[in-house]
Symmetry: C2
Subunit: 257 residues, 2 copies
Amino acid sequence: MTRKTPSKKPDSLPPDSEAAFLAGYDATVFERPSVAVDVVVLTASRGGLRVALYLRSEHPGKGRWALPGGFVRMDESLDAAAARLLRDKAGLSDLFIEQLYTFGAPGRDPRWRIITVAYYALVDPRRFDEIRVEKGARAASIHVPWSGEEGGPVEVRGDADKPLPLAFDHAEIIGTAVKRLRGKLDYTPVGFQLLPAQFTLRALQDVHETVRGESVNKDSFRRRMLAGGLIEATGEHEREVEHRPAELYRFIRRSAV
Amino acid sequence: MTRKTPSKKPDSLPPDSEAAFLAGYDATVFERPSVAVDVVVLTASRGGLRVALYLRSEHPGKGRWALPGGFVRMDESLDAAAARLLRDKAGLSDLFIEQLYTFGAPGRDPRWRIITVAYYALVDPRRFDEIRVEKGARAASIHVPWSGEEGGPVEVRGDADKPLPLAFDHAEIIGTAVKRLRGKLDYTPVGFQLLPAQFTLRALQDVHETVRGESVNKDSFRRRMLAGGLIEATGEHEREVEHRPAELYRFIRRSAV
DNA sequence: AAAATAGTGTCTATGAGACACTATAGT
DNA sequence: ACTATAGTGTCTCATAGACACTATTTT
């Protein structure tokens, strides 16, 4: 890692000049923010949207719940850092994961300046429940106080619907993830990431209703999904249900066209 | 600015524990990436999409063209840094500006680790052309080698369609901005940010066609825009044109509902 | 048989595209 | 009068919602 020596540091420069730009450049050699990555691990089931949280046992944010996160290493990309944290803290890999937004308000961490690049990951409920239960890990249900894609912070609740206090600006980060997910649901194949490999149309509809926070028209939904060319029937049917078993479908990954 | 002293640094910790998290935390006291902000200033006219670029006069990237950018100060938010850079480097303020994506590949800057939070700003062609012409400022036209919202790097060209070499990963950053703009055009009032306060429906259609890179149906477009409730007629008409003058419209900012 | 959900067929309302037409400016 | 663009009316087609109906499993 080579560092530019802070030799060139002119006092007066014409504003907006390239030289002024480079002067500002050198200044950061002395003081830099820390850069972290936080991951919003989301799942959807009939009970609603859930997120993986960890209880902070030390200050700051002691006694509050936080997203899995950590600092970016100097030799890894942001995507790699997110994948590493997901693996180390939640024991999950090979998930859909995407960069969400970067949060950098000066006071968001009381210690010093920490800029966090937030990611969100999607996982089906079965794998979500398999998250290694380490000290303090918990699946919290998300309550969205806004409708549509307005955005804003959310509330999370634990067992018995008890509200969980969130550390830092994590309520806003989770809210941003929900907003993004709602926006992508209709136009991308993101919904399938919240389901196991095989699923019924009803399960797919449940996912859409859970994410959007409102019910959708059953007939239209079925037609749209079947006409979309993104799923195909497996020929198999679900078993051990108390009613007529539905056919199982699988998601077709868009092949190279 | 208080710094946690690097006193606590245990050698062996149970993996995935909170203590391990905090150890990783302390490590960053010693080595941190720099954090920059780059702004993609976009405008649309019948000639196509254009972006504001600056010639780099020093290494790295000497002789190449770069987005206006600079380092985030320790006491300002990311949004504030973007607004400051837009004002100082392009002389523009009060524009639509939004965070785009954060680029952090380890090798993207050959000097040392620089993570850049990219923003994009939209401006109408008249104001774009008013950008203070300082040393090296230039409006480059964007050529998009992909269709729809596939994404990927773009090419930029200067006068006489001469290709301009871009510094760092700025071709990818501009491509990401174009992709985002295309995605938002149909579902948000973002198109109006590329027009002056009063505009004709034809001008609005030009903006959509320029951004999307393909022609749209005239009748349907007019109906959609008029039915959308986002614009209203001013009663005035354009003047000094070689044909029937069109009515001028204005964008209605969504009032609190 | 009753209950519950899966899955199908048909009608209707809405909105986009296509096309034909009229209107109004400059030359 | 001719040309270019603005703006309107109407037809058709595709799709979403609504509703009624049939199908298949467990209890």
